[in-house]
Assembly symmetry: C2
Homo-oligomer: 137 residues x 2
């Protein structure tokens, strides 16, 4: 019954340093169940192992890619469950991809409106601003 599933024993601040994740964010992830409650030392300090590092890195990567915490939660249950994982993951990746593409399209529209707007303006110190008028219309 010897527990040798974790090699490194990290405190919370060390996990934060190791992953680049904010200290408080780790606690937050534990509160909402994205990260498991880690074991504690006799003094009550959280102790993390390799598996926590891996899981947190995964979460951070997914967040970077724009997945919401709920989506990340979903992906994690796939990881944890391990059943027909690949097809599901593929599907969710594609769904998220189309989401990202929609946001890009949206931002491009905004970009061109802002470009037009800026072009209309001479940049001089005129009290009457054609840009504001254009935008209000």
């Amino acid at each position: 019954m010897s527990k040798n599933n974790s090699v490194t024993n990290l405190l919370r601040s060390e996990l934060a340093k190791a992953t680049g994740c904010n200290l408080e964010t780790i606690r937050y992830y534990e509160q909402i169940g994205i990260m498991p409650d880690p074991p504690r030392t006799a003094r009550g300090f959280r102790v993390y192992g390799e598996e926590h590092v891996r899981r947190l890195r995964f979460v951070m990567r997914m967040r970077e890619l724009g997945f919401s915490l709920n989506e990340v939660r979903g992906l994690l249950t796939l990881v944890d469950g391990g059943t027909q994982t690949c097809a599901e993951v593929h599907e969710r990746t594609l769904a998220h991809l189309s989401d990202v593409r929609a946001r890009i399209t949206d931002l491009k529209r905004i970009e061109s409106v802002l470009e037009e707007t800026a072009a209309k303006c001479s940049g001089e110190d005129v009290p009457e601003c054609p840009v504001l008028d254009a935008l209000s219309a």
Copy 2:
């Protein structure tokens, strides 16, 4: 002393319908000072005029263009103040434009990562998922 500065007298629900803005959002904008407290009827109902419609439309347009409520607040003080407006507006528009462009660049990076990731996956029902492995790494 006759007040004829507003032609239309709209209730809140009518302002909402006229602008497409959510009813509750209007109250919220009043709470945070984006919209002014409107005059009331004897029964305490809010009454809006043309100037409210115009202002709310402006706010909505700016929000659509991705300005934060704080930025909108700033633009509104320029509108209200009316001093050296144009140069300032030009500047803020450009600042926001570069912001939008940065977000586009970011999303494009995410897009290509997701594309690569999805391409790696066959979409078959394999329990071991190369995508998840790739994403964790």
